[in-house]
């Protein structure tokens, strides 16, 4: 029984790390992979989703709806930012990095002024359960499953829906897509909103597990960037295996040697991947197609 519960504990850890990595990275990967834009305001979309969720939940709106509202709010913010700023910068991607960082700074500081240094959060739902010698948070045990559902929905969106086909066509050859009558500017807006909405969803999902501070987005940034570096630009075939592998490494090392070694392990993995597979894991899949 002890062995089983220890095993489950490891699985739980892995799932927790995996969910965190994947959810943190998805919004960033979509925007980067589909449009080549490094969105340094990614953390702020996460923060937006979290804040909206908390505010709605405290007003009495049921939690799942509040989370949905959080994601939608972030997506709307994405639309606004894309139309005002990003769309001028598609032909100068380096400048989009700088611009999104500026937006991130403005949003963070404004949030600090408006909402104060922290806001009372909401509690983690579902409580905890006990297995063997350990107790686990039910909510965090469920998160990996939610993450997989989100991935599944994304896969369907990219490969089975009309939007997906149009989006992929535009990414591969925007001129040609336009000649075929596709409204590429609408597609870019939609895609950016999708990335922002995914970030908002992440914030919403993790809102019950952390304190709401205006800088909370930065907690996710490191994991997000690391996953994108290891996974490459491909969202489904890159980020997911990347998150899985990184989660395995982090879990294994943390379990044996502690948190810090887990972090070091991540760093070393990133370095190795940069050296051996510079375009990320996603490229492997590209070549076998």
């Amino acid at each position: 029984m002890t062995a089983l519960s220890t095993l489950y504990s490891v699985i739980y850890q892995f799932g927790d790390n995996f969910a965190y990595l994947v959810l943190a990275a998805l919004g960033l990967a979509v925007i980067f992979g589909m449009m080549g834009v490094i969105n340094l305001a990614h953390g702020e979309f996460i923060m937006c989703g979290a804040y909206v969720t908390i505010i709605c939940a405290k007003r009495g709106i049921p939690l799942p709806i509040a989370m949905l509202l959080g994601a939608v709010a972030a997506a709307c913010a994405g639309v606004v930012i894309e139309r005002l700023v990003i769309r001028h910068l598609y032909d100068r991607l380096f400048d989009s990095v700088v611009a999104t960082w500026a937006i991130s700074l403005i949003v963070q500081q404004t949030m600090l002024l408006v909402a104060g240094p922290s806001m009372e959060g909401i509690s983690t739902p579902f409580g905890s359960f006990v297995f063997g010698e350990y107790s686990f948070s039910t909510y965090r045990a469920v998160l990996p499953i939610i993450a997989l559902c989100v991935l599944g929905a994304l896969y369907w969106l990219f490969f089975r829906s009309n939007y997906g086909v149009c989006a992929r066509a535009t990414i591969q050859n925007a001129n040609m897509a336009q000649c075929l009558g596709l409204r590429t500017d609408h597609l870019y807006t939609l895609t950016f909103a999708l990335g922002a909405g995914l970030a908002g969803l992440t914030g919403a999902l993790y809102a019950p597990t952390m304190t709401a501070v205006p800088t909370m987005g930065t907690n996710f940034i490191v994991q997000a960037f690391v996953s994108v570096v290891v996974g490459g630009a491909n969202v489904i075939a890159g980020t997911t295996p990347a998150a899985a592998i990184l989660a395995v490494i982090q879990t294994a090392l943390t379990a044996s040697y502690g948190q810090l070694i887990g972090q070091i392990g991540l760093l070393l993995t990133v370095i190795m991947v940069i050296r051996l597979m510079p375009q990320g894991l996603g490229n492997l899949f590209n070549r076998t197609r």
Partner: protein
């Protein structure tokens, strides 16, 4: 996108209107500054200039070579911590402090060579270089932040996590009556002299055939390769130079304040050199120096007098620059000034036919 009318390399071609004398003026002013302000103020001015090295490095890498690196602060921290480790172990003498500085630079150069090798010989290009360097910086910060425990010690020097490493000795020079500590005015002159040397060296390098090759690589890497230019080697070399200059900033910062912490490598800090250089004008290392000094001064001033809105204002300025004056503020202003004086359009508009970067 607006392209400047003349090549990005030779200063005489780039600014035919500004006579050479005018370009010497800022240096003369800077050298005379301590004559009009007190020692403390000189020390503060030194602080603004300390960041200029990282900016020059980034301008050389990014403006000339097309390599956007978020790693300047990683090397900033690397050299800073190295100085601390060396001097806390070797003691207070002049040999210790200068060795700390030199070893700090060597460590940054070595680290940059390793990272650069993996990036350029691993065929990482375009904005992905930015992602990779940012990741390295962030992970390095995360690592350093965890080092608060007493087991994290190298010799006598505790790494100390977010508490930061303190107590390292300043630079001293052996002198007849006893060692002279370089601080305030003397430190200011040291930084100024170093800056002048770095500027002159970098200027010559960027105007040389090596610099010309860098521009070619930036504009059309495939064509450059077909001219027999070894792209990877050129990129690696400028990357090592740029990052080492970032390290120089870090070491000097640590010397100035006797203090270094992982926040120097955080997400906000990592973006700062990019902000300064983008705002000032990345194609000119002179603009980068002036712009950085002004912006650092500005953020300090705002922090004291208008703290709440300070960063929002900076963000807004940056956004404006990116959207309206993408070549940077100084070129924007100087082009407008040139138009006013000569009534001739000084910029040519050429259509961007290719996406600037690949992912």
């Amino acid at each position: 996108m607006i392209q400047p009318a003349s090549g990005a390399v030779s200063p005489t071609l780039r600014q035919p209107v500004l006579p050479r004398l005018l370009r010497l003026a800022p240096w003369v002013l800077a050298f005379c500054l301590p004559l009009v302000v007190d020692a403390n103020a000189s020390g503060n001015f030194a602080y603004y200039l300390v960041w200029a090295f990282a900016a020059v490095g980034l301008a050389a890498m990014w403006g000339q070579g097309g390599i956007l690196s978020f790693g300047q602060t990683a090397f900033f921290g690397l050299s800073g911590y190295t100085y601390g480790i060396v001097t806390l172990n070797l003691g207070d003498g002049w040999l210790s402090s200068w060795s700390g500085l030199i070893i700090g630079l060597v460590v940054s150069a070595g680290g940059a060579a390793l990272l650069g090798y993996m990036i350029f010989y691993g065929k990482i290009k375009g904005v992905f270089i930015g992602i990779v360097t940012l990741s390295v910086t962030l992970v390095l910060e995360t690592f350093m932040a965890q080092t608060a425990g007493p087991q994290w010690v190298i010799g006598e020097a505790r790494l100390n996590g977010y508490n930061g490493m303190t107590g390292m000795p300043p630079l001293t020079l052996p002198w007849f009556g006893g060692p002279v500590t370089l601080e305030n005015t003397s430190f200011y002159y040291l930084v100024l002299v170093l800056l002048a040397v770095v500027y002159a060296f970098t200027r010559r390098l960027l105007d040389s055939p090596f610099g010309l090759a860098l521009v070619a690589i930036r504009e059309n890497p495939q064509r450059a390769e077909m001219l027999g230019i070894d792209i990877r080697r050129h990129q690696l070399l400028i990357f090592v130079l740029g990052c080492t200059l970032g390290g120089l900033s870090g070491a000097l910062y640590t010397i100035w304040g006797s203090y270094i912490t992982p926040s120097a490598m955080g997400l906000t800090s990592a973006a700062m050199p990019v902000i300064w250089v983008a705002t000032a004008g990345r194609k000119s290392i002179g603009a980068a120096i002036i712009g950085t000094a002004v912006l650092v001064w500005l953020s300090q001033w705002l922090a004291i007098y208008g703290s709440e809105y300070a960063l929002i204002l900076m963000g807004a300025v940056l956004l404006f620059v990116v959207l309206a004056a993408p070549e940077g503020l100084l070129p924007f202003v100087s082009d407008r000034a040139r138009w006013v004086f000569t009534r001739r359009p000084s910029k040519s508009r050429s259509f961007e036919t290719q996406k600037r970067s690949e992912s």
